[in-house]
Amino acid sequence: MNPGIDVLVVDDEPVVCDAIRLVLGHEGLSVAAVPDAEAALEHPALGDCRLVICDLMLPGRSGLEVLRAMRERRPGLPIVMITGFATPANADLVLAAGATAFLPKPFDESELLTLVRHVLAPMDVAREERSP
């Protein structure tokens, strides 16, 4: 239904979704955005997307629950947790729960790009090998 969605963004703040879509879209990645945990876990793209960027504080079920549910379904999926309430404790928490990376808000373009490239790099290498 959503062929070729690379990145699934979960954030209740539209401007954050838009900003990520802008930056990553410019990198050639297709981005889908959902505002809460339910929408995220039911999103068809969840099955084959290459990256999830998820806010820690969502309305209803928290980003941490989303992270755990996704990690269960797709253990190898890179999941980057973002939050406006970045404390070392929060960072430890999400990394312990299986997040690939933790990115405090606000971030600029290069911080986001660097991180995304970094977590996607092994997969890119694999894809390039498959389809030169």
Binding site: E13, V15, V16, D18, A19, I20, L22, V23, H26, M57, T83, G84, F85, A86, T87, P88, A89, P104, K105, P106, F107, D108, E109, S110, L112
Partner: protein, 695 residues
């Protein structure tokens, strides 16, 4: 019923009983003495009469006897004098009407001798006297004297008596007791009056005393208690009396003082908690829009390489957004100050980074920043991020002080200096643990001296207990007592909890040879002070043995408007700001917390109009972490200075007087520099001329 009334009633009852008993005893003794005296007089009188009438009797001169008895009987105080014969007939009497009457032997006058049919004998005086009441109503003392038969009587010419008669007659002398009774009655009246006066006087004295010593202080205490109950903790009751109520008043004042301090701390903690919640909320809310701005702006910035004007404008947006990010981060840092993650770090490098961060603001304020950094400074074990925040805060503070220095001279200069110094323990080492010999914790977190928990002990001088808070900085001596103590007096010191003696046996003060008392400073041995009030003698063998400790010293000095001395004491309090609405009042509080977290020292010296100098000293040797909160979560460990007496108020003049206490600092090869070398990874800042051109 009031205490005073009860006391008055009790004392009146006791006074009445005592004086009543006393008057009864005195009056009865007095009466006995009077009667005895009168009895003797009556006896003498009857003896005199008997002697003077002897020859008249022998010679049977009855007229002369009549005359003599009549004359004597009419004298003042003598009721009557009469003479009975052996059969009870009155032969002679001063009352002539009686003569010839016979008296019943059972009558009063005769009873003593004729009682139970005893034979007439020689009787002792008391047996011969009697007291009776006349029909006229007054009392009379009667004294009889038997007239015994003698050879002259039966051999006299008149032959009136036989030889066989033993008693010829009885002389009866009656003295009026009216006068004596009057004296006794007068004495009784006087005694009663005296008793009433004594009761009235003691009651009045008691009333006055109870009013002055009990009622008034108690009324003041009640009024004070009501005020405290209504929430007015500034209440103090007069506590000048040296009695138990004075002690109570002092204890009351101590209690309200401690309560108000505790309340202030509580309010402070509440303020901190709400700012923490606020910070968390603000951070979350603001960081989302900031993400939008920052991402879009940086996205555009990257794609505007060929348009220098747009690029410059976008740089401003990115830079300022990042500044917002730092502000929010600072707010979050404040909400949860974390224990430092120490790594050996180059303090000079941290200062340069901090300077780069605030350079724009300093440039805007026309501040001339100069450095005098010790290039040989050894790496200091510190949390680079936290210390950078300290430097940023101090620099921004200095810039603000300069900006407010006055319109006449815009701009000013800030000098930043680093050096290594050896800080002697005296005047600097902090006592961070204190226990009594039985292990009670003596550190009082509610009473802080220069922001550090003070050491609470009881000082006992002549049975009076005074709560004393000892300065937790070794050798500085900024102690506080709940009431003044007499200078030079040697007092006993005790644990406030278990009352154990703190005296140190077998050691004397180096200064005055007085006795020492001490507390156990955890693993760092015992700290001792001289027990003589006013003597600065103190010892901490552990620290003294360690000697001067190496510290890295950072000085930030400005020539801004300075800080009034009154504000110095509160400078490091959270939410205390001298900058009006521009200051959050958090910068120096965070600074204090970070320096304290590093076991460092921060002091401020200032002179209004001339400038301010902050000195931060960070230890090279880190004391082992106390075991008190090992697993404490980073998010819930606010290290805040207390609301009261936080800063070390050492204005320039005062601080410079004690050269022995000042650490020796070296500034080898000072490297004055106008600006720190710019670093590639730092916040870009525009050249000054360009900014000036844009206004």
């Amino acid at each position: 019923m009031r205490i005073g009334t009860l006391a008055i009633l009790g004392v009146a009852a006791i006074t009445a009983a005592v004086i009543g008993m006393m008057s009864i005893l005195i009056v009865s003794a007095h009466r006995g003495a009077l009667i005895a005296q009168l009895t003797r007089s009556a006896d003498q009188l009857s003896e005199t009469i008997a002697s003077s009438t002897y020859y008249d009797m022998l010679e049977n001169r009855r007229d002369a006897v009549h005359r003599e008895i009549g004359t004597i009987g009419r004298q003042r105080g003598i009721e009557k004098v009469r003479l009975f014969n052996g059969t009870g007939v009155i032969m002679f009497s001063s009352e002539e009407a009686e003569i010839g009457h016979a008296l019943d032997k059972n009558a009063e006058a005769c009873y003593a001798c004729h009682a139970a049919g005893r034979p007439l004998e020689r009787l002792p005086i008391p047996a011969r006297s009697r007291i009776y009441r006349t029909t006229a109503g007054h009392r009379v003392l009667g004294m009889i004297r038997p007239i015994h038969n003698e050879p002259g009587c039966w051999s006299a010419a008149c032959h009136a008596h036989d030889r066989g008669e033993v008693v010829l007659g009885v002389l009866d002398v009656n003295l009026s007791l009216a006068e004596a009774d009057g004296v006794i009655a007068r004495d009784q009246r006087r005694m009663t009056l005296l008793a009433v006066l004594a009761i009235a006087a003691s009651s009045a004295l008691l009333w006055w005393l109870s009013r002055r010593l009990i009622l008034r202080p108690v009324a003041a205490l009640i009024a004070g208690t009501r005020k405290v109950a209504q929430g007015d903790l500034s209440t103090a009751v007069p506590a000048t009396a040296q009695d138990e109520l004075g002690d109570l008043a002092r204890a009351f004042n101590d209690m309200t003082r401690q309560l108000s301090e505790a309340q202030r701390q509580l309010a402070q903690a509440d303020k901190l908690a709400s700012v923490g919640r606020l910070a968390a909320g603000v951070a979350h809310e603001i960081n989302n829009p900031l993400t939008g701005v920052l991402t879009y702006a940086s996205f555009l910035l990257k794609r505007a390489q060929d348009q220098p004007e747009t690029q410059a404008d976008l740089e401003v947006i990115v830079r300022e957004t990042k500044r917002c990010r730092e502000i929010v981060r600072g707010l979050l840092d404040f909400a949860r100050q974390t224990p430092p993650q120490r790594q050996p770090s180059d303090l000079n490098e941290i200062i340069r980074r901090a300077a780069a961060i605030v350079m724009n603001q300093l440039t805007l304020a026309h501040v001339n920043l100069s450095f005098q950094l010790d290039a040989d400074l050894e790496p200091v074990p510190l949390d680079a991020n936290q210390v950078q925040q300290v430097v940023v805060n101090l620099l921004l503070n200095a810039a603000d002080a300069i900006a407010e220095g006055g319109a006449s001279s815009p701009g000013g200069s800030i000098r930043v200096e680093t050096s290594a110094c050896a800080v002697p323990p005296r005047g600097h080492a902090v006592i961070r643990a204190a226990t009594c010999p039985k292990g009670c914790d003596l550190l009082d977190k509610n009473v802080r001296i220069a922001g550090l928990p003070a050491i609470r002990v009881i000082r006992r001088d002549r049975e009076r207990d005074v709560l004393v808070h000892l300065d937790p900085i070794y050798g500085r001596g900024h102690h506080r007592a709940s009431e003044p103590c007499n200078e030079g007096v040697i007092a006993g010191y005790f644990c406030p909890t278990c009352r154990a003696r703190l005296e140190v046996a077998g050691r004397r003060c180096d200064t005055c040879d007085g006795p020492l008392f001490g507390v156990q400073a955890g693993a760092q041995g015992r700290v001792e002070w001289c027990a003589r009030k006013g003597c600065p003698g103190t010892r901490w063998d552990f620290m003294d043995a360690l000697g001067p400790q190496p510290f890295a010293q950072l000085v930030v000095e400005d020539d801004g408007r300075g800080i009034p001395e009154a504000d110095l004491g509160r400078l490091f309090e959270p939410f205390f700001s001298t900058k009006g609405p521009r200051g959050s009042g958090l910068g120096l509080a965070v600074t204090w917390g970070i320096v304290e977290g590093h076991d460092g020292l921060i002091t401020v010296e200032s002179e209004p109009g001339k400038g301010t100098r902050f000195t931060v000293r960070l230890p090279y040797r880190v004391p082992e972490a106390p075991a008190q909160d090992p697993g404490a979560s980073a998010a819930v460990r606010p290290r805040m200075p207390a609301a009261q007496g936080v800063a070390t108020p050492s204005p320039v003049g005062r601080a410079r007087r004690g050269p022995d206490r000042r650490p020796e600092c070296r500034s080898r090869r000072p490297s004055p520099r106008r600006m720190p070398p710019p670093r590639a990874n730092e916040v870009p800042h525009e050249p000054r001329d360009r900014r000036a051109g844009r206004g």
